[in-house]
Symmetry: D2
Subunit: 278 residues, 4 copies
């Protein structure tokens, strides 16, 4: 399994979010508390949108995040208002750049924690369900990348939650056909450069943890001494596999089988139900 973080809000130096918090994502690469594995040292990735570009930059490597100097250099110098970061714990698949998250397609960016159970038995049929025009874009061997291309196939560009629901529905159906008891375990972040969707779901109803930060104005009221939050817009949000700091009122858990939309104006929290692809 893995740990990830998605940030949306006031542009900040990446290091303020990735390195400075006491239980930062970089720290989680070495000492995860809530993950299935305590160590997430099988590669990492960071993706960010710049000021003018609507295509994200994606830097991924196979080394552990905690000792990667280039990641620190980038984090110390790059400022962004929308970025993803991911530290990987492989469950056996190759440790290679193309298996590190986030994945990109046009202006879209995607990352995942979890797994498709018995993936080797479902992989071929899942690949066949991908739009043939996209098939050749597959570069790695993870379930996560295939899930991304399935979501694109099912209309991510038109209706992101529906596309992810159909991807999940397909996994559930194929899994059931093959006798896989709990086919899907996932927390997913996906963005089109403007909105950010975060999904939490598992077949067994016991999903990997996922938290989102409270509104910055709420946090400021609770913790007036917390320097980092002072400059942030009220709508700034961080979504994380596990909390970066242990402070009351800072984090809320995303409920089982639900998804949230981080967007200009009010955010949204809705139930997530897999659907059969049309």
């Amino acid at each position: 399994m893995c740990r990830w973080l998605a940030y949306s809000g006031t542009p900040v130096l990446l290091e303020d979010v990735l390195y400075k918090p006491e239980h930062s994502l970089i720290d989680q690469s070495l000492h995860s508390r809530l993950g299935v594995e305590t160590t997430n040292g099988d590669g990492f990735g960071v993706g960010w949108y710049g000021q003018d570009a609507c295509t994200p930059a994606i830097v991924r490597d196979t080394s552990p995040a905690w000792n990667n100097r280039n990641l620190r250099e980038i984090a110390n110098h790059v400022r962004s208002g929308l970025f993803f970061a991911h530290v990987r714990a492989s469950t056996g698949t190759a440790v290679q750049q193309t298996n590190s998250h986030p994945f990109r397609h046009g202006r879209w960016m995607w990352m995942h924690n979890g797994a498709i159970t018995d993936y080797h038995r479902l992989r071929r049929d899942l690949c066949l369900a991908i739009d043939p025009a996209l098939f050749s874009s597959i570069e790695g061997s993870t379930d996560s990348e295939v899930m991304f291309y399935l979501a694109i196939t099912f209309g991510l560009d038109q209706d992101a939650p529906a596309a992810v629901a159909q991807m999940a529905g397909l996994v559930e159906r194929l899994g059931a056909e093959r006798g896989v008891e709990f086919p899907l375990q996932m927390t997913i972040a996906v963005t089109d450069s403007e909105r950010l969707w975060a999904f939490r779901y598992s077949s067994e109803g016991n999903s990997r943890s996922l938290f989102y930060s409270s509104r910055a104005d709420t946090v400021r009221a609770l913790h007036p001494d917390l320097e980092f939050v002072r400059e942030l817009s009220d709508e700034t949000r961080i979504v994380v596999s596990e909390p970066l700091r242990d402070l009351p009122g800072l984090w809320k858990e995303l409920p089982e089988s639900s998804y949230s939309v981080v967007q200009p104006g009010s955010d949204v929290l809705l139930p997530f139900v897999p659907q059969q692809p049309g």
Copy 2:
């Protein structure tokens, strides 16, 4: 494109073949003379059979062969009577360990120089033709790995030349269906730990170069001062993308559209003709 070398015969230190000749494969990684690219710096691999093991060891990396210290250490200390080595020049696909040659399946080992033209247009159909039970073994994104699994699907274990011919036949047919003028360009080495097959073929009848060494007794007669050959059995053979030394009588070119079998007793040289899979 790439450069490769296959050795079969008297067990030797890998360095005697990989590093010591004046225009060795390691030198070819930096200064190829006959290749499409002069530099083959996008990863390398070496695979060897030990004394008792019939499964080969395979060490592959993404760095250039010429500066890889671990390759030199292994070559300086490992002795083998059957080994493959490959230096890669990517034509765009990711530089990752799983895209480096040789590939392995059970006791089989495979490496390739060449390309399937417009591979992105044929990739999906080629993948679909792979035995579903093997599909999940695909780890990289090269045409070479898919060609290997197709050959296994078509019975490599029973009749290697027929299986490779069917693989080539499928590529030709799918290419023709998609309007690809010259779909296949290949030199391939494959072994089952006992015999070594080397294939040279291209749709356009203008294949990448491939050479095999003369019998060691012939070489000894011609070049009595050539130290390395003195200890080799008469049947020892080296098959290479380009000659390791410029000495008369040392190398013979494999003819267009042909394959050779290096095996105990007389070697064989036969025409290669793609076939339609049954």
Copy 3:
């Protein structure tokens, strides 16, 4: 030996300079024309100053520049008005991140092409001449890094040309004492985030090539169709080991034993003479 590029002027996307020119630095990593080696595939580095930071970001790796995807991502998304890039051809020293250029110390950045002859015989004495307080900052095993710390020791911060001259003087003197015929071969770029110095010198008076671009207004007058130059300030300069494009009037060679200063207002071109450290 190596190839390098230093840019100072109107902020641009790094890719406009590093990738887009026909004979770009990335192309030179694979096909250098004027270098001692045609291939510069033993690591690379890029360093840039951001808008507010006076400390540069430095991203370095051991892979070839031509196949490094992270370098391309950064180049596609980072904009800077002062940056260095370097592709390395090792002459035997380890291929490791700490041997890739540029090097950094505080706000200073340094890169080098060339070598100290018989460095293994001079290394210890050169290291001893480094300010003891800096000795522990040495992380790699190159002559280039030691030359940098010597220049800092000799007052780079106060008078950069004098400090580099004393570094060169020390190498010349120690080389002469050890009977090394031509101890030093160097082209060096160094910056403090505001000014950029470029040095060309060798003991034998036959230095590696070094070129600087003509003033942008001159280039625009000569080549009104050259799109890239249109947006650049007149004072924008590029200093390179070898020209990026073959166009008349675009590049001037830095004379033997000279250095130039790229700075606000008029640039300066002066003779370079090694000096004995005080």
Copy 4:
């Protein structure tokens, strides 16, 4: 800190020792129990002597041992009667191949767990004490490599324990001069291809753990069901930072401030006392 293992005895496949035990060194790279750090993911190395070679092969990398496929390939195919393996947890120094253990000089091999306290303050003086003829062999930036060259300087080739004692004595003296309270913390393995010395020492008398296996005949008597031990000569020994299996009678702790010699005939256990270099 780090974890290491040294094996001397009946030639075995490296995997039998490095991978198969339940709490193997590879497992310790991910889940160390007795180490200062639970994760040792900042590179690894393995060094082995072959049948005829008295110079060891050394394969080192910067990736974690647990996910390195080349290490597993080598371990599955290489058989040796004397080998070292090391997994590294950097305390800040660069993660680079030349900082991974073991280190080699001629037929000698060396690895270390521990640290010189405030090394940045002692590094220069320690480097100056190295035989000038060896100075240029330094490739990395670790204290461990410098300790090795000091031991060579002090006559490792003539009297290994005395040379290591003088190295430790120098560190103690320089540390005391600089006001470092407890300058040295070390467990060291060193071999000349025939004998194996293991040292355990720290200035504060609270050294990192070090264990050696009981004689194979004793282990067989205690655990007749333990398959691996059946084929081993009585004198086969494993020295480890932490036990590979939790079985009574299998491991003995090396006492504080002592060293052992594994050699043909009786092994030796002696007190270790730092000495001033002559």
